[in-house]
Symmetry: D2
Subunit: 346 residues, 4 copies
Amino acid sequence: MRYNFMNDYNECAHERILEAIAAANREQDDSYGLDTRSEHARALIHAQLGGAQSDVHFLVGGTQTNLTIIAASIRPYQGVVCAESGHINVHETGAIEATGHKVIALPSADGKIRAEQIARCVAAHYADSTAEHMVQPGMVYLSQPTEVGTVYSLRELEEIRRVCDRYGMPLYIDGARLGDSFAAEGADVFLPELARLSSAFSIGGTKMGALFGEALVINDPALKKDFRYHMKQRGGMLAKGRLLGIQFETLFLDGLYEEIGRHAVAQAQRIAAGVKARGYALLTDSPTNQVFPILPRALLQPLANEFGYAFWQRYDETSDVVRFCTSWATPPELVDALLDAIPAKA
Amino acid sequence: MRYNFMNDYNECAHERILEAIAAANREQDDSYGLDTRSEHARALIHAQLGGAQSDVHFLVGGTQTNLTIIAASIRPYQGVVCAESGHINVHETGAIEATGHKVIALPSADGKIRAEQIARCVAAHYADSTAEHMVQPGMVYLSQPTEVGTVYSLRELEEIRRVCDRYGMPLYIDGARLGDSFAAEGADVFLPELARLSSAFSIGGTKMGALFGEALVINDPALKKDFRYHMKQRGGMLAKGRLLGIQFETLFLDGLYEEIGRHAVAQAQRIAAGVKARGYALLTDSPTNQVFPILPRALLQPLANEFGYAFWQRYDETSDVVRFCTSWATPPELVDALLDAIPAKA
Amino acid sequence: MRYNFMNDYNECAHERILEAIAAANREQDDSYGLDTRSEHARALIHAQLGGAQSDVHFLVGGTQTNLTIIAASIRPYQGVVCAESGHINVHETGAIEATGHKVIALPSADGKIRAEQIARCVAAHYADSTAEHMVQPGMVYLSQPTEVGTVYSLRELEEIRRVCDRYGMPLYIDGARLGDSFAAEGADVFLPELARLSSAFSIGGTKMGALFGEALVINDPALKKDFRYHMKQRGGMLAKGRLLGIQFETLFLDGLYEEIGRHAVAQAQRIAAGVKARGYALLTDSPTNQVFPILPRALLQPLANEFGYAFWQRYDETSDVVRFCTSWATPPELVDALLDAIPAKA
Amino acid sequence: MRYNFMNDYNECAHERILEAIAAANREQDDSYGLDTRSEHARALIHAQLGGAQSDVHFLVGGTQTNLTIIAASIRPYQGVVCAESGHINVHETGAIEATGHKVIALPSADGKIRAEQIARCVAAHYADSTAEHMVQPGMVYLSQPTEVGTVYSLRELEEIRRVCDRYGMPLYIDGARLGDSFAAEGADVFLPELARLSSAFSIGGTKMGALFGEALVINDPALKKDFRYHMKQRGGMLAKGRLLGIQFETLFLDGLYEEIGRHAVAQAQRIAAGVKARGYALLTDSPTNQVFPILPRALLQPLANEFGYAFWQRYDETSDVVRFCTSWATPPELVDALLDAIPAKA
């Protein structure tokens, strides 16, 4: 195979990250995230939050980050509202339920849920005379970008925040691919907006060029207390926490995080444009690093010998939707090669 | 108010039950379900199972029965498949999730789910290359009758059982109103069929004339081991377990359980027939003790001064769906009075 | 057997309770604790709390009451401090752990834990530089009377309360046999003191002459919010909640609750005095309805044909400690008969 | 500070590990542990198990490994037996309880529990007539070496295994520092013995020179099924699983794992010998990489400016117990320097 576009974690890590770890290798430091490098990384992130007095923690992976902040934020009888296609609803093997909480899934065509949809769901709960017999919506979970590459606008987030405020619900935004949303055309939600509008959000590392790791930014003072206990209990506190510190230091020191997003998104959008130019439609209009073309099965089968992609869903008798995913590591010349391998629609 | 048709637990208990408790009041007996009366009640139920070698336990309430048997039957990463309208999905405040398990809800128009629907859901799980990232369907939950009064036929249950067998999933049937299903016209599922086709099922007491309590019949030998530990842990083991024993003894000694079902269903069907005769439609064709007529709001408001009912859902500009529920205690003459209070459709 | 002193739930219920239920049998009422009888029972209890603005809930059983209030009061990383012999630590099949929380057991010779012992445990936690790696003591659990019949004095409770205040920990008191503590000689802790000093406490019904049921009094405003959701989720909300209402109404209307405690304690203390008069020692000096004599095995074996008792522990080569337990139902003449059957020590 | 002996994770990773990651950086591979490097690492470990047909999984950290295998192995009403000082009982913030299970702690003076102690605990459970009201001992947890550096002998493990077999309990051995036990003087428990005697055991990476990660070896066929679902649910499945694969490949390719253990233990034993030669006692006789000398406070305070150590416990009026911990990274000349800084006892 010439290149695998299956996902954005098929390579290890951006070379600057590996170099930084190697350079620090024998420096002794404190453990469990209390080290100087994590302190520095926290300060670097903090400086980009537009003045918010947030806490920043580094956790090992995305599922852990999600389950830890959600379980820390809601009461035993509460659930978390999210899109049907939300990662916590579909692809975390019931990690949220394993902490005791229902995921309240709302229908979504494009991976996003809307303010009025959330408001309707929550209002219906409180209006019901048997509300106490039902799970109370206690939190809202969004992903930015979503699982299908779409992006919430500033206005959408502001509206959702207002609904959350009305009902006293924290708003958590899963940013596993956050840097890709920053690079989307027309993007108007960046770190300061996230710090202002969300109760907590994550800054994904794993899918953004780190070896592994997610930064969790907690903005709501009510969610800050004793959070390190939660992290330890859920297995999310790394002994050599400095590894997370060094990685996020590197990502946030000279704009590397944004650079990685720009590269990945640029390559994905080249694929999207090329596919469209060849006469094929896309399932969704994703402005980030995932592209979902609808391609004939007759084309896909031979293509698979040269380029990896993810099967997404059957489209019709002759076509499937597939996903091409790009990253910091995607060589532009292999995007060219991929497009060369896709003939124009007959 | 002359009579409240709101639900089937607005009175205490069938008088024969109260008399039996009073008669046994000062008899000393063992505790926690190891008493002679529970032994006897178990034997009486056992004798009606068509020869199945089942275990019978008595628990305090329906939510507890459901959460205890489900949590005892599946592995941490498994979920329980049920109808969207299933009691465990809607009206138990996330009790199943609180034990760590996802409820996998399937759409349903009439409160029932179908064999091929379950098969499709489970097959899709195993066919997915990322199955390990998703909750595994580990059990099927049905209610008989369902939350909207419908009843599974023998053939439907046999088909569901085959799907369960194919995938090694236990089948649990919540019989909170089980006796009402026995009295439905055309009923072909009784205790022996339930013992043969389900892995476990409950025989509801609370809604069938007992003060409280559910009998849980465990048919699948794999689910029997140490079940009393589960009951104790979940708070479902009554200190004075004899109270449950005496009640189920009374219900199963001279056919009282069936008699209660027949009475409740007869009164409900009289309401259904009367409402239809007056020109009004029913939302669903429930053959049991719940009736869901569509009535004009103009009629419902004055009716509420005389007769209680449950609001079910808005139907259109001028009409609502309401629920009338009958029980062992419903006086036939008050059913007459109710019908007298409903004028024929203009 | 002439009489079983095994425990205080070998009979059903005080006759006045059965009569009250029978009298109300066909009265229709609301469900799930929103009925008029529960309202009235709440008011009766409320009136005896010395003016505290407490919430009163009725739950089905003791294990449920304990697990529901504890899980509702502490955060995921917190545990509950209790005596090694505490009911939640020993006899609830890990019900607390099943809600996700560690029971932090402190050594105790007499079933009680002391203020300075709790203070030491909590201070040690916060003094440890790895505190975040350890379960945080989040609540204190006491039983009044304890599992071995001893009673906390007002001064002891005040001291414990001060420790709880210092560390922001709720104090929960399990009163499964609360009425027996009121009847203890020298008792100085009654409902007003419990309402003032505890964050929540339970008033046991099951062991105090009710068929079943516990009243939970929540004094701390921080623990009141949405408590009925917790109850429903844990299976502790009874459909025919009126049954709990009627029982506690009866117990608290004309002083029946105290009367039952006085009767049980008087009979137990007669056993204690009689046993001592015959030359035998008691394991602990319990002033309530449980007596723990040390008796020769040679005496115990024939005694068991006539009178039931609980084996407690082996004492030495020739003697065992056993427990005699009395209740509302214990006939004084059978206490005489028991003592007649115990010969004086040779 | 010249060197920090605080713990064995103060540096990053053995240089060969960093080099291996760097060398593989741009190689595309599968994710979530299904990559070629994890396959190879599994094969390398497998080849050293003495022929056992074990499954090998790689997880991110120790707490996660412990909670995942324990929660996967026992039933909801069961608990895990371990030493009072066991890591899961003390230093994982209640991670086991958060999965619903009680930790049943047995007293231990040297970090180990004995076969007959376990047998007594389990036998007492089954002998109790109220066993169903108590948590059932469902699994045994040991650490090798223990938290205080001691090591189980082959004979001790065989005896414990026999107890486990008698009661059908899985035996899990936490090998966070496993390689250090292999290097202990007189060691007679190696990988084949662990594979034969335990149901599952972990091979620690974090404390043995890896960046992070633990290998979990599952020997008992009953515990193997669907284990990857458990891993994903608990957040222990790394997206770039190859990172774990490459690390364990490196550790197990040319005997690096044993080499690291030998180095660490040699340095620690030099400290132990040096301290004893200077006239000071050790708290325990640890043959591994942790040393616990009892030193005068007057000596410890100035020492802290040059060398880091962990405070362990107060010993008497003038002395404390401290811990010196060595690793792959400990320079022998700094062990010399440490000993030079400790004057002989007056």
